[in-house]
Symmetry: C2
Subunit: 183 residues, 2 copies
DNA sequence: TTCAATACTGAACACTTTGTTCGGCAATAT
DNA sequence: ATATTGCCGAACAAAGTGTTCAGTATTGAA
């Protein structure tokens, strides 16, 4: 890929992330993005057909890799997250959040959350489905499978939100316990 | 209140509700609302300073009464909901949804949900706090109180969403069991 | 080094949406 | 009957969106 393209794309992401940490998605204008990114208007639209696609691409870039490497331990810093050890997959995730590589944290808090979490939830759901066995024994037999999966996923997300809202006061280990206790 | 005001306000709500059942909040324009409501532009802004306030007022009108009457049985059709019997408060709510007075259901499904549910959740949370005793014995002792309340509330909301997404296939009683089993 | 392909610039453009203003008209309460 | 109040509707400025295009600069490859 052309060096210029990569550079421009990065600038846009950076500006966008920056803005997302300050105001909600629908208050952000293309004008602001290109001003901070310091690029021409036409350039922006050459990269992204619309603001929504920018968000989509950003989420994919951030989350896809996160959830890909999440299923196995890793000791290297590659892509978005640094992983230094391995417990449960979910503890792993909590640690990542706390570690706050990139400013994922900023993005997940504040008012930006809704759109963001919609993408995030998809990833978590995949993860839950992969690790459904960890929860199988806890499941009340009445519940349909997809209800159960959705419940675990939602509980994870809500636990995360609660944690972030409180300013990540608790340790990842404690939050992980909360999560497993609740579910 | 002036008869005209009430009428206009109703027209706006009706048009807005109508639109909300078809497209998401931020795709709806004031232009569309006033066209369907068949009122002048200036009139709209005489009633609501902005589209967000319209949503807020609509939610208050719908939910406030719902959650007010929700704490006690009622046999009359007053305000938004018709109540024909009484089980747990939450079963009560599920029944209301299924009964679908007003088109609350339309509003809760589709893409409109996020902003809507934010208001809805506040009401549910109040309810949960009032009826926290129903869940006290189930609570793992590790969990902080506010975590527990938030968890129950979220589980209710997510159960509801799951139910609606599936087209309300199950009966309110079954869903209520799911909810209590999960939590 | 050369050069064709490609990406960026920046300004102008049409279009949509927002929220305001105001003179005139109609409904309302008393 | 009349003063008050709400509605009309058209016009308006301001802001945002997405497009276009001619000109310029960078790039990767021969």
């Amino acid at each position: 890929m052309d060096r210029r393209q990569k550079k421009t794309r990065e600038c846009i992401f950076k500006a966008f992330t920056n803005l997302l940490s300050k105001k909600s998605f629908d208050k952000i204008t293309v004008g602001e993005i290109i001003e901070i990114a310091d690029i021409g208007r036409a350039t922006f639209y050459a990269h992204f057909p619309t603001k929504d696609f920018l968000l989509k691409d950003l989420c994919e870039e951030l989350f896809l890799h996160l959830f890909d490497t999440e299923v196995k331990p890793c000791n290297d810093k590659k892509g978005v997250f640094y992983c230094d050890d391995y417990g449960s997959v979910f503890l792993h995730l909590f640690k990542h959040i706390k570690h706050n590589d990139n400013n994922l944290l900023k993005l997940l808090s504040g008012e930006n959350n809704e759109l963001f979490f919609r993408y995030f939830k998809d990833g978590v759901k995949m993860l839950v489905e992969k690790h459904i066995l960890d929860f199988r024994d806890k499941k009340p037999s009445i519940l349909p499978n997809d209800f159960w999966i959705n419940h675990i996923t939602s509980t994870f997300i809500e636990t995360l939100k609660w944690w972030i809202d409180k300013g990540l006061t608790e340790s990842p280990e404690v939050i992980n316990e909360y999560f497993f206790s609740a579910v």
